[in-house]
C-alpha cells in the first residue's frame, strides 16, 4: 500500500460521496425512513383490541371481571346483549374476540362448581389471537385475586405464580425490533451501496482507467472500503441515536462494544458488497443481487422480526451462515441486556471470521484485469 495513491483514491471517493445525493440518501435518509416506518408502523403489541363481552346475567360477580377487562390497556370493551349479535360482529371483523359469561356463571361460582368463561377469538392472525388469550388470562387472574380477598374461604388458586420478565419487563416490541432493524439498515448501506458504486465505476469506464494506472488491487479495494466504512459508521451512529432518543430503547451495554461490533459487521457487509460487485459489473444487476442475497435474508432470517428459535431446523442451520444473524443477536443483547460476554464474544468471533472470509475472497478474486 502506498499512502499517496491510497490517499488519492480516498479523496476521490469522499468527493464523490459528498456530491452524489443518492449515496448520502442511502446512508442517512434511508435509515431515518426505515426506522420511522418500522418504529411506528410495526408493533406486535396488540393494544385496544375490540372485544365483545356478553354477560347473560350481569351481576356483582361478573361486573368486576368486565371492569378488569376495561381497565386493561389491551382491550376496547363492547358490552353486547347476546351471543348471536356478538358472533355476527366477529364474523364481520368488527370485534376480534368475544368473552361470554353464561347465565349460570354466578350460580356456579357460588356453589364452587367450576363455571366456564368462554373466549372466542378470530384465529386468522394466530399471533394476535395468542396475545389476546394471554391478555384475557391476565385480566382474569386479577379478577381471581380480587375474588380471593372478598371471599370467605380461599378460592382455588393454589399456585402463587410470579413472572419476571428480564431485559424488557414491559414487553415492548419496539425495544427488540429497533435494534434488530439497525442490522438490516447496516446491511443495506454496506452491501447495496458498495456493490452499486463499484458497478458504477465499471459502467462509466472509470474502472478501466484506474486499473491502467500503477495502483495495486488492494489499494483500489481499500480506497472503496475506507470511505464507505466511515459513511456506514455514520449511518450506524444516526440509527443508534434515533433508537435511544426517539424510540426510547434502553442501551444497557457499553457504547464501545456496540461500536466495535458495528465496525466488524460493517466490514462484513462491505466485503459482501465488494464481492457482489466483482461478480456483477452493472449497477442494475448488482443492486438486485445485493437485495436478494443480503437484504432479504437480513430481513427475514436474522431474527430481527421472526425468532430464529421458531424456524424449522433446516432454516435455523441456514441462518448460521448469515452475518446479520450474529449482529442482530449482539444488538439485542447490548441494547436490552448489557455486556453479555457469552453472547457477544462468540458472535463477534463469527463476524470477524466472516469479515476475513469475504474480504479475503474479494481480494483473491479481484485481478487488476478486465477479463
Amino acid at each position: 500500500m502506498n499512502a499517496r495513491r491510497l490517499g488519492g483514491l480516498i479523496t476521490k471517493e469522499t468527493l464523490q460521496i459528498l456530491r452524489d445525493p443518492s449515496a448520502l440518501g442511502i446512508a442517512f435518509i434511508l435509515p431515518l425512513f426505515l426506522l420511522l416506518l418500522f418504529g411506528f408502523g410495526v408493533s406486535l403489541n396488540a393494544e385496544h383490541v375490540p372485544i365483545g363481552v356478553v354477560a347473560d346475567h350481569p351481576d356483582p360477580t361478573t361486573d368486576p371481571l368486565v371492569a378488569a377487562l376495561r381497565h386493561s390497556r389491551y382491550f376496547e370493551v363492547r358490552p353486547l346483549p347476546g351471543l348471536k349479535m356478538a358472533r355476527d360482529l366477529l364474523s364481520r371483523r368488527e370485534i376480534d374476540a368475544i368473552l361470554w359469561l353464561r347465565n349460570d356463571f354466578t350460580r356456579q361460582t357460588l356453589v364452587n362448581a367450576p363455571a366456564s368463561i368462554g373466549l372466542i377469538v378470530n384465529g386468522t392472525d394466530a399471533n394476535t389471537a395468542n396475545l389476546v388469550e394471554g391478555y384475557v388470562m391476565q385480566s382474569w387472574m386479577i379478577w381471581l385475586a380480587q375474588q380471593n380477598q372478598v371471599a370467605s374461604h380461599p378460592l382455588g388458586l393454589p399456585v402463587a405464580l410470579q413472572f419476571r420478565i428480564w431485559f424488557n419487563p414491559a414487553l415492548r416490541s419496539q425495544d427488540y425490533l429497533v435494534p434488530g432493524l439497525i442490522a438490516v439498515i447496516m446491511t443495506l448501506i454496506g452491501a447495496l451501496l458498495t456493490a452499486m458504486v463499484v458497478a458504477r465505476e465499471w459502467e462509466r469506464g472509470t474502472m478501466e482507467a484506474l486499473m491502467a494506472a500503477p495502483v495495486t488491487m488492494a489499494e483500489i479495494l481499500a480506497g472503496k472500503l475506507l470511505p464507505y466504512f466511515v459513511l456506514g459508521m455514520g449511518g450506524m451512529a444516526l440509527s443508534v441515536a434515533l433508537a435511544v432518543f426517539v424510540f426510547a430503547v434502553p442501551l444497557h451495554g457499553s457504547v464501545l462494544i456496540l461500536a466495535l461490533a458495528s465496525a466488524l459487521f460493517m466490514l462484513v457487509a462491505l466485503g459482501m458488497g465488494l464481492l457482489i460487485s466483482s461478480l456483477a459489473r452493472n449497477q442494475f444487476v448488482a443492486g438486485q443481487i445485493a437485495i436478494v442475497v443480503t437484504f432479504l435474508p437480513a430481513f427475514i432470517l436474522s431474527g430481527f422480526i421472526f425468532d430464529i428459535r421458531s424456524m424449522p431446523m433446516a432454516v435455523q442451520i441456514i441462518t448460521r451462515i448469515l452475518p446479520a444473524r450474529y449482529f442482530v443477536s449482539i444488538l439485542q443483547s447490548v441494547f436490552l441486556a448489557g455486556n453479555v460476554w457469552s453472547v457477544i464474544l462468540p458472535d463477534m468471533a463469527m463476524l470477524a471470521l466472516m469479515a476475513v472470509f469475504f474480504l479475503g475472497v474479494t481480494l483473491a478474486r479481484s485481478h487488476k484485469r478486465l477479463d
Binding site: G8, T11, A209, M211, A212, A213, K368
Partner: protein
C-alpha cells in the same frame, strides 16, 4: 526515455484472445504478431470487431492473452504489469474521467495514482492546462465539459507523468473537428518529445497523420506500413470522375454497378473511384476520368475488399422520381429551452421531396433535439414545425404512418429475435396479408438478414443492427425517413454501404432527414444545416457551404475545413456582439 531510438515500444508475438464461454465464443485476436517502433505515432484502423480495443487493453495490461506474449517497453506485461503501467499512459474509450469531480480534482487523483511528486505537480498542471486550454475550467465538473474538452482532460490525465508509451483508444469519436485537430497537435508535440504513441481511430483521414499504420481485421494484421507508402501502392487505380449532365449521385450509382469499380465515393465536386488492380476504367458515355492520388480510404477499402465477400448487390437506380420541389418538412424560428439552457436557437429550414437533408454538428450541437422535435417526440418552445403539412406532436396518430424512424444506437428490442422485431414493426404499422409477407420478404432480402432471423437483436454485429433498424423503419414504405446518427460507431465500409442505400431510396422519392457528426458524410446530402451550440452556422448545398469558407490559402476546402472556418467566424461575431 530509456528506449533507444528504433527499438520496439510494443511487441505482440502470436497473441490470441477469445471472449465468452460455451457456444458464444468470439475470437478478438487471432494469432496476432506485430511490433510497434518507439518514438513514433502509430495509427490502428479496422472495422468494428477487428480487435482494436482488445489490443489496447492487452498493451495496458488490462487483459491477459490466452496465447502468445505481449512485451511493452521491453518487459513482459503479464509478469510486471504494474511496473509497466507506471511507464505508460492509457486513455480508454470514454476517457475514464470522474464526471462529478472537477477538472482539477481529476488531475489530482491521477497525479497521485501515477506517483507524481507533490512538488512537481503545480508546474506539470500548468503545462498540461496550457496545452489543453483547460485552464479556465479547473473548477468545472468533468461531466459538464463538452466532448472535446473531456477528451483533452482524459489525455491530460494520461500524460501527467510523461509516459514512454501513450495508448489512445478511439480518442476522437464524436468529438468536433476543432477538438480533433487540437488533439493531433498535441500528439505531434509528443512525437517531438520522443513519446511513442499508439492511437486507434475510426477516421480514415487521421491515418495520414501517423508515421505508421496498422490495419486490423478479424483479429489479424492486414497490413502495417507508412500510410503514404500504402497509398503509393494504389498509384494509377484512383480516378476523379465527372459527367457533364448526370448528377453526381446517379453517376456514383452507375459507377458502383460496374464490376471493375471497388469503391465510388462522392467528393467535393466529383466521384472518387478506386478500380480493381490492373483494369482500365470502364466505358461510361460522357464520363471524364482523371487520375488522382490515392487517399487512405482507398487503402482501407482495397485491403478489406480482398477479405470480404463482394459488396451487397445494389439495385440499379430506378427512373429518378420526379422532383416537384414540394416542401415536405418546414421548420421556421424553432427554439427549445431546457430550463435556462437554450438548446436550439432559432433554426429555420425546409426540405423538399426526395431530398437528403443533413443536420451536421458535433455532439451537443443541438442536432438530436431538433430531430426529436421534428418527429413529435419533444414539444418545441417556439416556432413552426410541419412534417407533410402537420405537426406530428398534435396530429392524429395516423399521420405518423408518413414517417420511418431510426433512433440513435439503433434501438431495437434486444431480447427479441430479428424475425420477431420485424414482425412486431410490421404489425405496429398495420401491415397485413400479402403486403406484410411481401415487405418482410423484401426486408430479409434487401438487408441480407436471412441467416440472422433467429438471432436476438442484441447479439447482432453493429452493422447488422443498423440494417435491421433501417429495415424496421422502412417496412411500411414511408415517404419520409428520419435517421438519427445512423452511422455512429460503424466502420467506414459499412458507412459507405449505408449511404449508398440511403441515396438509392432518396432517388426513388423518399425524403430523408439525417443527423451525423462525420463531416465527410456531408457530401451525401443534397442540403445541409451545420449546427454548433444550438445555432445554425450555415445552410445550403455542400458545395455552397464549402464555397462560403473558401479563402486565398485554401481555395478548395473540405467540409471539415469549412466547418472549422465557419465556427471561427461565428465565434468572432459572438465576441463582437458581446
Amino acid at each position: 526515455m530509456a528506449e533507444p531510438a528504433g527499438a520496439d515500444a510494443l511487441v505482440f508475438a502470436g497473441v490470441s484472445k477469445v471472449f465468452g464461454a460455451g457456444t458464444t465464443r468470439i475470437t478478438a485476436l487471432d494469432d496476432l504478431s506485430l511490433a510497434i517502433k518507439a518514438g513514433r505515432v502509430t495509427g490502428m484502423l479496422g472495422p468494428d470487431g477487428a480487435g482494436k480495443t482488445t489490443m489496447m487493453r492487452l498493451a495496458a495490461g488490462l487483459l491477459r492473452p490466452d496465447r502468445g506474449r505481449v512485451h511493452v517497453l521491453g518487459e513482459d506485461i503479464t509478469k510486471t504489469a504494474r511496473a509497466v503501467q507506471s511507464r505508460i499512459g492509457y486513455m480508454p474509450q470514454r476517457f475514464g474521467l470522474y464526471e462529478d469531480l472537477t477538472v482539477q480534482e481529476n488531475l489530482d487523483l491521477y497525479a497521485r495514482l501515477q506517483g507524481l511528486a507533490a512538488a512537481a505537480r503545480p508546474a506539470r498542471y500548468a503545462e498540461l492546462l496550457k496545452l489543453t486550454a483547460l485552464g479556465p475550467f479547473r473548477a468545472r465538473p468533468a461531466g459538464k465539459l463538452s466532448g472535446g474538452m473531456k477528451q483533452k482532460l482524459g489525455l491530460a490525465c494520461a500524460l501527467l507523468r510523461v509516459p514512454e508509451l501513450l495508448l489512445l483508444d478511439e480518442p476522437t469519436v464524436g468529438v468536433d473537428p476543432i477538438s480533433r485537430r487540437e488533439l493531433w497537435h498535441i500528439i505531434d508535440g509528443l512525437r517531438v518529445a520522443g513519446v511513442s504513441v499508439l492511437v486507434s481511430t475510426a477516421y480514415l483521414d487521421e491515418a495520414e497523420r501517423c508515421d505508421e499504420v496498422v490495419l486490423l481485421d478479424h483479429g489479424r494484421v492486414l497490413a502495417q506500413a507508412n500510410p503514404a507508402a500504402m497509398e503509393a501502392l494504389l498509384q494509377g487505380r484512383c480516378f476523379k470522375v465527372t459527367h457533364p449532365t448526370m448528377p453526381r449521385r446517379a453517376l456514383q450509382q452507375t459507377l458502383l454497378a460496374q464490376p471493375e469499380v471497388l469503391e465510388a465515393r462522392l467528393d467535393a465536386t466529383s466521384v472518387h473511384v478506386l478500380l480493381a488492380p490492373d483494369i482500365p476504367p470502364p466505358e461510361i458515355a460522357g464520363a471524364a476520368w482523371q487520375g488522382v492520388a490515392a487517399q487512405f480510404a482507398d487503402v482501407f477499402v482495397d485491403q478489406l475488399h480482398a477479405r470480404r465477400p463482394a459488396r451487397a448487390p445494389v439495385a440499379p437506380v430506378a427512373a429518378m422520381a420526379p422532383r416537384d420541389h414540394a416542401p415536405v418538412l418546414q421548420v421556421a424560428g424553432l427554439n427549445r429551452y431546457f430550463g435556462d439552457f437554450h438548446a436550439v436557437k432559432d433554426i429555420t429550414f425546409e426540405v423538399t421531396r426526395g431530398e437528403v437533408f443533413g443536420l451536421l454538428g458535433a455532439n451537443g450541437a443541438g442536432k438530436t433535439t431538433t430531430f426529436r422535435m421534428l418527429c413529435g417526440l419533444l414539444p418545441a418552445s417556439s416556432g413552426t414545425l410541419l412534417v407533410a403539412g402537420q405537426n406530428l406532436l398534435k396530429a392524429p396518430a395516423e399521420a405518423r404512418r408518413q414517417i420511418g424512424y431510426v433512433a440513435q444506437k439503433f434501438s431495437l428490442y434486444g431480447a427479441l429475435s430479428v424475425a420477431q422485431n420485424l414482425a412486431f414493426f410490421a404489425a405496429a404499422y398495420g401491415l397485413r396479408g400479402e403486403r406484410r409477407a411481401r415487405r418482410l420478404a423484401w426486408a430479409e432480402e434487401e438487408f441480407e438478414l436471412g441467416p440472422f432471423q433467429a438471432m436476438n437483436a442484441a447479439d447482432l454485429p453493429l452493422g447488422y443492427k443498423q440494417r435491421l433498424a433501417l429495415a424496421c423503419a422502412l417496412l411500411h414504405e414511408p415517404p419520409i425517413l428520419f435517421l438519427d446518427e445512423p452511422t455512429s460507431g460503424v466502420d467506414p465500409l459499412t458507412r459507405a454501404e449505408f449511404w449508398q442505400r440511403i441515396n438509392q431510396y432518396a432517388a426513388n422519392g423518399t425524403t430523408v432527414l439525417v443527423t451525423t457528426h462525420f463531416m465527410d458524410e456531408a457530401e451525401y446530402c443534397d442540403h445541409l444545416l451545420l449546427m454548433s451550440l444550438g445555432a445554425s452556422l450555415a445552410a445550403g448545398t455542400p458545395a455552397a457551404i464549402r464555397a462560403q469558407a473558401a479563402s486565398a490559402d485554401n481555395p478548395d476546402p473540405s467540409m471539415e475545413d469549412a466547418f472549422i472556418a465557419l465556427i471561427a467566424a461565428h465565434e468572432q461575431t459572438i465576441r463582437r456582439a458581446a
